[in-house]
């Protein structure tokens, strides 16, 4: 077996293209052969071409999502857009439409989010037992605390008020508003947290597979 032969420091300098005068011919030949070999190798190298750019960009745009946001998503509440009630006669009808939209930090067209847009939004059911109430609604981070908020309806169970809303994945803070003037926490929420004003907000963490609570 041949003994490993290292290039001398002159040989290494020669291979780095620096001038050397005292290189032995055998070592010079060896260095030249190495250079020829690498040149041939490099010349034959077939590297990925511009088609790669397109493939990658397609994936990147798919990750960024339909509104082409940045490399991350805003995980907090979707924003409800309250369109100025251009006096349509719908006002007289008792038809309520909820549009939950995800606002982008950057300027981007608002897109109505529907429950079909899993994984971003999930249908969550809220209920409150308030047999003496005349009106119950729900306000919180998901509607920018706009009171009175989302109205609950009486359910078939006496005294029970319910509503199901699409919520963004992540944490939501909220309270029920009873008869327009009493803020009531949700006993079935995951937790109650300090609202900063000396009272408590209810908190749920919405996962893409829904919310489970007591």
């Amino acid at each position: 077996m041949t003994e490993p032969r290292a290039f001398s420091s002159d040989g290494q300098r020669y291979l780095d293209g620096e001038p050397t005068e005292t290189l032995a011919p055998a070592e010079r030949a060896s260095a030249d052969r190495l250079t020829r070999a690498v040149t041939a190798y490099a010349a034959n190298l077939r590297a990925p071409d511009a088609r790669l750019d397109r493939v990658v960009m397609r994936r990147v745009l798919a990750e960024a999502g339909p509104t082409h946001g940045g490399a991350w998503r805003w995980l907090l509440a979707p924003r409800m857009v309250r369109v100025r009630p251009a006096v349509l006669a719908i006002a007289a009808a008792a038809v309520l439409l909820l549009w939950w939209v995800s606002a982008r930090p950057a300027a981007a067209p608002l897109v109505p989010a529907t429950a079909a847009r899993v994984p971003d939004t999930v249908l969550v059911r809220f209920e409150l037992s308030a047999p003496d109430a005349h009106e119950v609604s729900l306000a919180g981070s998901f509607n920018r605390w706009e009171a009175p908020g989302i109205p609950l309806r009486r359910s078939s169970v006496p005294g029970l008020w319910t509503v199901t809303v699409p919520l963004a994945v992540g944490e939501q803070q909220y309270l029920f508003l009873v008869d327009g003037n009493r803020w009531i926490p949700d006993p079935t929420a995951h937790a109650q947290v300090d609202d900063g004003f000396g009272r408590r907000n209810s908190v749920i963490v919405v996962g893409p597979r829904g919310v489970a609570r007591s």
């Binding site: 990658v56 994936r59 940045g70 490399a71 950057a106």
Partner: protein, 181 residues
């Protein structure tokens, strides 16, 4: 060349993080142009190198906000790419690879048998190097980068890089000489 092509890397990163996702394509083109040969030499196969590059770009995109210094995003990406190439190579080695044989057969059909043999010898020899030696050797001899440029990319001192390149040369020399044994 469009106006976007004149933007510095750091500026592009900032704008991507602000929401201009489409600008990522500029980085893709720049870095593919610069590192595709490196990736191919490191992985040893063009298609696998393309896979490694693709994966590296996607990981870079996902983690872009964590790049400490947007001005140095190239070196940051280079590290991601290098790791991806090593992973890809490790996978390749585990499979029964006939690539080496096929390449040699093709090469022999070319004119210049000696060049073909040398090429094949280099291809084989590169597999024997340590990952650090391979990286350094390819950057120096395939990409023609200076030691200073390599120091920036590999975040290593010039002297350490020279050692890696020297050792790689010695190992390759031995392989070439075995051709004539």
């Amino acid at each position: 060349m469009s106006e976007r092509d004149g933007l510095a890397d750091g500026e592009i990163v900032r704008r991507i993080l602000d929401g201009e996702t489409h600008l990522f394509e500029v980085l893709i083109r720049r870095y593919r142009t610069e590192f595709a040969r490196y990736a191919t030499a490191l992985v040893g196969d063009t298609d696998q190198a393309a896979d490694a590059m693709q994966e590296a770009f996607i990981r870079a995109y996902r983690s872009l906000a964590s790049c400490r210094d947007p001005q140095r995003v190239k070196a940051w990406f280079f590290r991601i790419l290098t790791n991806q190439c090593h992973d890809q190579r490790a996978k390749l080695r585990r499979e029964v690879s006939l690539n080496g044989q096929d390449a040699t057969a093709r090469d022999r059909a070319d004119a210049g048998v000696e060049r073909a043999e040398l090429r094949a010898a280099i291809t084989r020899a590169l597999t024997q190097l340590t990952p650090e030696q391979r990286e350094a050797f390819v950057l120096r001899h395939v990409d023609g980068k200076t030691y200073e440029e390599m120091a920036v990319l590999l975040d290593t001192g010039v002297d350490a890089l020279k050692m890696r390149v020297y050792r790689a040369r010695d190992a390759l020399r031995q392989h070439l000489e075995h051709l004539h044994d």
